[in-house]
């Protein structure tokens, strides 16, 4: 924001008017990815009615993909203009750049993996791709907003897009159920968040994160702030699917279209974790420790135990996503700097492996998502060796076997926890990850060690889906073999976030390093 030095003689009214000077060009650069995504979202919506419905899917998908890639490229220009914008509502720092790149990359891969799905399911493409792009705007904004009201608006943009996307399999009752359930419970949860924001305003007199940080650091913490933190945690806990706010997850994931589940379980989740990091660590939220401790332990345990008995692959991955939210929450109980970088790394690794896994699942599920039970995966290793091998690789990463991103993700989380003397939580987490190995292994066992069932068809993998899966494999492998660069970047941005210093030049040089 352009600061004009005001003399003391000027009236207060004039000062206020001065503060409302229109934003400068570089401030627009700081929200460039959001602008690009919105423009392309609108282009998709405008072009849609002009095309023949039967033939509109491919071109619209291509526009959506170009939009996402353009937005990805525009993060570079955003990164060249660090600082805050729009009356201190948005801040571009290493942290927000990281999440921008991550979320937009997720959207791009999901769009790629949707091509085939749209064709097979005969879903109208205009709204679909438009909503993905608009939802991504919300997710991006969530990571860079430092004003709680803007965070709330961004949260709603991303949520409402995903509510609608969850109901896109219009012919299926389960999809409508999924959408409605997600919408009702989600609105309820965001209301909690809003209530928390109001309480925070009551406690500190501001909704700006910087101002809240100063207010909480300087004086004794007002009791209202504790309530505010708890309420905001309820809202965000719902978004990241952590226990005890996780009950919606399996039903919603089961009903929603498979590529969208890939998006839902990674994009909005990463964005919500970004907000949670800002709320918990940048503000240094009071009274967060036991809140998080309990939620983390519950999420890991309920997620893994729930997954043990699932026979539907989407439900299985839904419970696994609850467990993974639990692992990430472990880091929130740790030392802020260590915890932040570990969570940032984990969101990237989780995105790579989970989007990949859902890309395979959505390809294999076929028309009408018929083939989703574990039984259907019997003998996949024989019928489709490449597909089975890639799914095995993603599952290995979810288990946390070396040479995958999932391994280093878990490693950083638990080493951050141990360094912060969270021995109890670490042991709960590691026992849980051993339990988790069992149900991922069930899928691998099915694919390789059972006889194939004749009636399940295996169609050839179209190039777009193949490309999406390949990107995910490479990203998972990259994070599993040379995690250094991404982790260094996360560590630097984490220390800025926690200390509240401005961005350094060294950070920008790495900024267009795609972590996806």
């Amino acid at each position: 924001m352009t600061m004009t030095v005001l003399t003391h003689s000027l009236p207060a009214l004039l000062a206020q008017a001065q503060a409302f000077t229109p934003p400068s060009g570089s401030e627009y650069m700081r929200i460039l990815p959001e602008l690009v995504l919105s423009v392309f979202g609108m282009i998709v919506m405008v072009v849609d009615p002009l095309l023949d419905e039967e033939r509109s899917q491919k071109p619209l998908g291509v526009i959506g993909l170009i939009g996402a890639l353009a937005a990805l490229a525009s993060t570079y220009f955003m990164a060249l203009n660090p600082g805050s914008a729009f009356w201190n509502m948005v801040r571009v720092d290493g942290f927000s750049i990281f999440f921008h790149v991550l979320v937009i990359a997720i959207a791009a891969v999901v769009i790629l993996s949707s091509y085939e799905y749209m064709a097979v399911q005969r879903i109208r493409a205009g709204e679909y791709y438009g909503l993905i792009l608009f939802g991504t705007v919300g997710m991006c904004l969530m990571s860079s907003a430092i004003e709680l009201v803007l965070i709330f608006i961004a949260l709603e943009i991303s949520s409402i897009s995903t509510y609608v996307l969850a109901g896109f399999r219009r012919r299926e009752a389960s999809s409508s159920e999924s959408s409605l359930k997600y919408f009702l419970l989600g609105s309820f949860a965001t209301a909690f968040f809003l209530y928390g924001v109001a309480m925070m305003f009551g406690a500190t007199g501001s909704t700006n994160i910087d101002a809240i940080t100063r207010a909480l650091a300087s004086a004794t913490v007002p009791p209202l702030a504790y309530v505010a933190v708890a309420l905001m945690f309820v809202g965000l806990g719902f978004k990241v699917a952590s226990a005890p706010f996780h009950v919606w997850t399996p039903d919603v994931y089961e009903g929603a279209p498979a590529p969208i589940v890939g998006l839902m379980s990674t994009g909005p989740k990463a964005a919500a974790f970004a907000v949670l990091l800002r709320v918990m660590f940048e503000i240094n939220a009071p009274g967060r420790f036991w809140l998080i401790w309990v939620s983390a332990a519950l999420s890991m345990t309920l997620g893994n135990v729930g997954a043990l008995v699932q026979d539907n692959i989407k439900r299985l991955l839904a419970y696994s996503s609850i467990a993974h939210a639990g692992y990430m929450l472990v880091a929130f109980a740790a030392h802020p700097e260590l915890g932040t970088s570990a969570v940032m790394f984990y969101t990237a690794a989780y995105a790579a492996m989970n989007v990949g896994a859902f890309a395979v699942v959505s390809h294999f599920a076929n028309a009408g998502e018929k083939y989703l039970t574990l039984e259907d995966y019997a003998g996949l290793g024989r019928r489709s060796p490449m597909l089975a091998a890639t799914l095995t690789f993603f599952l290995m990463s979810l288990i946390g076997i070396p040479i995958t991103g999932g391994f280093f993700g878990k490693f950083y989380i638990f080493s951050a926890a141990l360094k912060s003397n969270l021995v109890g939580l670490t042991i709960i987490g590691l026992i849980n990850s051993a339990v988790g190995a069992y149900y991922y292994l069930r899928v691998i066992v099915m694919m390789y060690m059972r006889e194939p069932r004749g009636e399940v068809p295996v169609t050839a993998t179209p190039p777009a889906t193949g490309l999406a899966i390949a990107v995910c494999v490479l990203a998972t492998l990259y994070l599993g073999v040379v995690p250094g660069r991404v982790l260094d970047y996360a560590t630097q941005s984490a220390s800025q976030l926690v200390r509240g210093t401005t961005i350094s030049d060294s950070l920008i040089n790495h900024s267009n390093n795609p972590s996806q």
Binding site: G381, R382, P385, M396, I401, P402, I403, F407, F411, Y412, F414, S415, L418, K419, T426, I427, L430, I431, S433, A434, A437, Y438, L441, I444, V445, Y448, M449, R450, V482, P483, G484, L487, D488, T491
Partner: protein, 505 residues
């Protein structure tokens, strides 16, 4: 060309040749014969490359050799640090020695998904070699876990009837146990800022690790549980018979020959190396468990109707000797333990190959289905007898040297353990020779067995190296012991100091 100039790179080369080969296999078209020949060539190449190690090993040095130490990841401070001493060098060679034999023995017994089989086998070889060459705890854990998936898939995809159960059981047992090791490793890192084995060892010895006194026992146990499951030490052995019985022959050979040694190697290197005081403190119950394993394994072997299960339980018994030797903290005991590891790898690997050859012909492992096989298969019977005698511990064959040294060491440390352990030798003669008698002697009871073909050329090529090695190790153990002993002496140095301190008090 002076081959010594390879020294800094040879370990990476040996470790990753099989992996590179498996990647090349990915692109080779699915013609089974080409794939098998290629896998054989790669595994032989790795073996030849690994021979560089004992040739150039300086037997007068006690530290690590052929070291390479590069930074892999800056934060956390993870290094690509490899190096071997006189102990691990032989385990590397054992791995590369057994893998070509595994390829040969799988030539016809694997007839579907051949490509995947050899890819998994070669990946497994890389992971196994990596375990023995890593000097960075993180790298070690990395390879340690990396052995799991290929082995579990080999059992689960190519095994017999209850293969899925066996594969999952194997996976979960070892995975859960190694989680405890991971906690201990991360704890050590958080207090020392390094994963480097040598750095951590020096930090612990100089007493500069905060809180080590209170945590030492737990750290010892964290590592110990992971290794004890792998060995397997009684009562954590229950996965082993299942895994062995269901595994394909090559899987059994590598499982018994090398995978189990990961556990005993880990005890020697990490439990003794990092926690000498705690090792002393815990030695009595560890030795007791080892002793129970020796006798229990032997007794269970005695009553097995299934040939492969019998050999599997005999591994429990033999590996008990290794643990007994390691925790005797005497030079003889440790020398013997390392020697038993190698001898058991060769002899039991041979036994599993022999059992596999029979299974290929008759599709059964039941001892009762055979009898009088010496008549139709004289050459097979001769090889079998030779390997059985090596395993029993006949002097001049390899089993004798190791077990003798272990028992001598155990007797020095605690006489009663030595005496009880010695009964294990008698038992092993009982169950193996009795099994041999029931399978090969007498009249041919079943008509199908009358026409069983004897060994073919390929099978002879697979068995001959194992038999020759058993003989060579038996008549010239000094070739091995002269490099094992200096490393053992340096591993035991802190124990001598501890003992001196105890006497001084």
């Amino acid at each position: 060309m002076n081959t010594a100039s390879l020294n800094p790179y040879i370990l990476s080369l040996v470790t990753f040749i099989p992996l590179a080969g498996s990647l090349l296999l990915l692109v080779i078209p699915r013609r089974d014969r080409d794939i098998k020949l290629f896998a054989l060539a790669i595994s032989l190449l790795a073996f030849v490359a690994s021979l560089h190690l004992p040739v150039h090993l300086n037997r007068n040095l006690t530290g690590f050799q052929f070291e390479i130490d590069r930074q892999w990841i800056a934060t956390p401070n993870i290094h690509y640090h490899m190096g071997i001493d006189g102990i691990s060098v032989w385990l590397v060679v054992l791995t590369t020695f057994l893998t070509p034999l595994c390829v040969l023995i799988s030539w016809t017994s694997i007839h579907e998904r051949v490509k995947e089989f050899f890819i998994l086998l070669l990946i497994l070889e890389t992971a196994l070699i990596g375990v023995f060459t890593s000097l960075d705890l993180f790298l070690f854990y990395f390879f340690w876990e990396a052995t799991l998936i290929p082995m579990a898939l080999l059992i689960g995809m190519y095994g017999h009837g209850r293969r899925v159960y066996a594969a999952v059981k194997f996976f979960l047992f070892t995975m859960i146990a190694s989680v405890f090791m991971l906690v201990a490793i991360i704890w050590l890192y958080s207090r020392t800022g390094s994963f480097d084995f040598v750095v951590i060892q020096n930090a612990i010895r100089s007493g500069s690790v905060a809180n080590f006194g209170a945590a030492g026992q737990w750290l010892f146990l964290g590592f110990f549980v992971a290794f004890a499951v792998k060995v397997p030490l009684f009562p954590l052995h229950t996965w082993l018979p299942d895994a062995h019985v269901e595994a394909p022959t090559a899987g059994s050979v590598l499982l018994a020959g090398v995978l189990l040694k990961m556990g005993t190697y880990g005890m020697l290197r990490f439990n003794l190396g990092l926690f000498p005081e705690q090792s002393r403190y815990n030695a009595s119950w560890v030795m007791a468990l080892a002793l129970i394993g020796i006798i229990y394994g032997a007794l269970v072997s005695l009553v097995q109707p299934n040939m492969k299960k019998l050999i599997a339980y005999s591994s429990v018994s033999h590996l008990g000797f290794v643990v007994l030797g390691i925790f005797s903290f005497t030079p003889a005991g440790l020398d013997g333990a390392v020697f038993v590891m190698l001898a058991h790898g060769v002899a039991t690997g041979g036994l599993f190959m022999l059992a596999g050859i029979l299974y290929e012909r008759r599709h059964t492992y039941e001892i009762a289905d055979f009898g009088g096989l010496a008549t139709p298969m004289p050459k097979y019977a001769a090889f079998f007898l030779f390997i059985v005698l090596a395993s029993v511990g006949l002097p001049l064959l390899n089993g004798f040297i190791g077990e003798f040294l272990v028992l001598a060491g155990a007797f020095q440390a605690r006489p009663i353990y030595g005496i009880l352990g010695a009964t294990g030798v008698i038992w092993s003669a009982c169950y193996l020779l009795w099994m041999y008698q029931r399978v090969f002697f007498g009249v041919v009871k079943h008509d199908v067995n009358k026409t069983l073909p004897d060994l073919n050329l390929r099978e002879k090529f697979a068995l001959l190296p194992a038999a020759a090695m058993a003989l060579l190790m038996g008549v010239a153990p000094i070739l091995w012991l002269n490099s094992i002993d200096p490393s053992v002496q340096s591993a035991l140095a802190p124990f001598a100091q501890l003992a001196a301190k105890m006497v001084g008090q």
